[in-house]
């Protein structure tokens, strides 16, 4: 599903004259198979988010190569990336990233709107998805009127609405209490097993065991393959 090879990244800070180059990732190679749940672990500031942002196309590297779902995405233009994200990638963020002026329904519907799906079809799919995450009675609530767990379910519903084969999650349980965290991890497991969705998740060690098939660790910008935790089911 994902093949990253020889990917390096450095942040440039400061004005042109006093430019500082901060290397963050060094020659990273990573392969994620279809149907896998891979956990990325590592200390804070080790470069986990940077790697995920590169795979998401939010930042671009001059070196290395990224192939997702058989497509060479490194080198994509901004609009190519946007189209690719819409069709192939789902995102779950630590801070949910819902649009505050839109209701739960509208937030979930947004990818369908961007894709240009007809209104009738949109309604059908959005309601179905809200039911699936158990929020149909909250559809006209604004994000500010929902609990953290509910907001995260809205954002998952939004990530799933266009049936992406891959979901990227940066500390998805970071803002949740332990009960909601458990629920979310179970849901991820279910999605992986039933729908065959591949997950790449940045998470903390102790949660990993319950769901991930494999973990990789980033230490000071170098990636090391960790131990295999579970066999992939399918």
């Amino acid at each position: 599903m994902i093949t990253v090879s020889d990917l390096s990244y450095a942040f440039k800070i400061g004005k042109k004259e006093k430019e500082n180059i901060v290397p963050v990732l060094h020659h990273v190679d990573l392969h994620v198979a279809e149907g896998e749940i891979v956990a990325i672990v590592g200390r804070s500031g080790s470069g986990k988010s940077t790697l995920l942002n590169l795979i998401s196309g939010f930042i671009k590297s001059q070196t290395g190569e990224i192939i997702i779902d058989g497509k060479q995405v490194s080198g994509f233009s901004e609009s190519k990336w946007a189209e690719f994200r819409l069709e192939h990638l789902g995102f779950i963020f630590q801070s949910f990233q819902l649009i505050p002026s839109m209701t739960a329904y509208e937030n979930v519907e947004l990818p369908l709107v961007l894709k240009g799906v007809s209104e009738k079809e949109r309604k059908e799919q959005t309601i179905k998805m809200l039911k699936r995450v158990g929020l149909e009675q909250y559809q006209s609530h604004y994000p500010g009127e929902l609990s953290g767990g509910q907001q995260q379910r809205v954002s998952i519903a939004r990530a799933l609405i266009l049936n992406p084969p891959l979901i990227l999650a940066d500390e998805p349980t970071g803002s949740l209490d332990s009960e909601n965290e458990k629920e979310l991890l179970n849901f991820i497991k279910e999605l992986n097993e039933k729908d065959g969705i591949t997950f790449l998740i940045i998470t903390h060690d102790h949660e990993v065991a319950s769901i991930a098939h494999r973990k990789v660790e980033i230490r000071d910008g170098y990636l090391r393959e960790g131990s295999k935790l579970h066999e992939v089911q399918r």
Binding site: A82, R85, Q94, S95, Q97, I99, G116
Partner: protein, 437 residues
């Protein structure tokens, strides 16, 4: 993203900051209305000028002159054979202009004319018929009111114009002149010649009265005599004033009438090719149009500055909207909104503001225009005690002006919305997502 969805999206965004949006619309409304109002004055003056030119001249009339002096019969023959020439009117001026009926006297413009060609050129009579024999004449509509008893000395002294006019009217001949016989006095306008020698007179009979001119202020007290009578009068006159000899075969005014106004240009060209000078309303209008088009362009330019100022408001509003919504933009980009979609959404928003401004501005301009045209004559009459000229308008908004104004306003609007919209596409996804972590 479908247009319908963009529209819905933009509308809900605009509703989020109603006051700001309406203030911006108000500024555009004022800019647009100002542009239209200012230019409409130019359009009104232009229209008045054109109407004026066309009101006392015929569109299909071409005046002919020659660099080699007055035209003669031979020239007329050349002109008559040109294609699409309906008639060639030619007049010979007679340098004696006193006519009388009993104690009433008038000094009128006397000229001879070729009656059939006058008829073809469009001369219309109010009463009577065209002259058939030598001593028959037709007179202008105002001839009777100019035919007066002799004025006592200091008759109108110290009177206002209006009072004087009234008093003069009392002296005027009041009755029907049709079929009356007038005495035509051979007096020439030459101070060297003694009046005693000017005793020759000719009797003429009024057989027709011309129609009233179509403008209130034109006074037509002319007398039209036949060519034959001209041939008799001129020798009499040259007996009194020898200088007038040999001038009787030249025309003082030659006018060509074309079948329709469209033919004027081609016919003018052909006449010019034959070596004559031409002058027509069409050519005068051309010069007039060039002048007024420049004038109107100047006004539109000045009005455009108001639109530009209003566009700064749109620029501001849109820049603020982009800044406020940068998180939403970031989220949408992360999910998969293309830069093009983002740009379109913001262009649409500024477009709507512009459309509202232009729409309201145009309506406002029309209302003000009607109001001004309605109220100004009343105000002028109230305060200056003077009647404004008939058909007076201060503001005229033709369709072309509306289209020009709408085009200018919309272009400026879209231009001012362009940069903020472009800025929206460059919102950094990660910066936007990092809002509250």
């Amino acid at each position: 993203m479908k247009f319908k969805d963009k529209h819905r999206f933009v509308r809900s965004n605009m509703k989020r900051n109603k006051t700001r949006v309406w203030m911006t619309i108000l500024a555009s409304t004022m800019g647009c209305a100002f542009l239209i109002m200012l230019a409409s004055v130019g359009f009104a003056i232009h229209k008045t000028a054109v109407d004026d030119v066309m009101s006392y001249r015929l569109m299909n009339e071409i005046e002919i002159q020659s660099e080699n002096g007055p035209l003669i019969e031979e020239d007329v023959k050349k002109l008559q054979v040109i294609k699409n020439v309906k008639a060639v009117s030619r007049k010979k001026y007679v340098p004696a202009n006193e006519l009388s009926l009993g104690e009433y006297t008038v000094y009128a413009d006397v000229s001879s004319a070729n009656m059939p060609s006058e008829r073809k050129a469009g001369l219309q009579l109010e009463k009577g018929r065209m002259p058939k024999s030598k001593n028959e004449v037709i007179i202008g509509h105002h001839f009777a009111q100019e035919l007066r008893k002799e004025m006592p000395e200091n008759f109108t002294e110290g009177m206002s114009e209006e009072e004087a006019q009234k008093k003069l009217k009392k002296l005027a001949y009041d009755g029907d002149l049709l079929n009356k016989t007038l005495t035509y006095h051979m007096k020439v306008d030459n101070p060297d010649i003694k009046t005693e020698t000017q005793i020759k007179t000719v009797k003429v009979k009024v057989v027709g009265i011309k129609k009233k001119p179509n403008k209130e202020w034109i006074i037509d007290s002319s007398v039209m005599i036949t060519d034959d009578l001209h041939g008799e009068v001129m020798p009499l006159l040259s007996e009194i004033d020898p200088e007038l000899k040999n001038s009787d075969d030249s025309y003082s005014a030659v006018k060509v009438y074309t079948s329709s106004a469209e033919d004027v240009k081609a016919v003018s060209e052909e006449i010019k090719d034959k070596g004559y000078l031409t002058y027509s309303v069409v050519s005068e209008l051309k010069e007039l149009n060039i002048y007024f088009t420049l004038f109107k362009a100047g006004l539109i330019f000045i009005g455009g500055i108001a639109v530009l100022i209003a566009s700064i408001g749109i620029f501001n509003t849109m820049t603020m909207a982009v800044t406020e919504r940068s998180q939403d933009i970031g989220i949408m980009k992360a999910i998969g909104a293309t830069p093009r979609t983002i740009k379109r959404i913001f262009l649409l928003e500024s477009g709507y503001i512009g459309l509202w401004g232009v729409g309201l501005g145009t309506i406002l301009a029309y209302l003000i225009s009607y109001g001004v045209n309605f109220a100004l004559p009343i105000i002028v009459e109230q305060f200056l005690n003077e009647k404004p000229p008939e058909d007076f308008i201060l503001s005229y908004i033709p369709w072309s002006l509306t289209i020009i104004a709408v085009t200018i306003c919309m272009s400026v609007t879209l231009l001012s919305g362009w940069r903020p919209a472009a800025k929206a596409t460059t919102v950094d996804v990660l910066k936007a997502l990092r809002r509250d972590v």
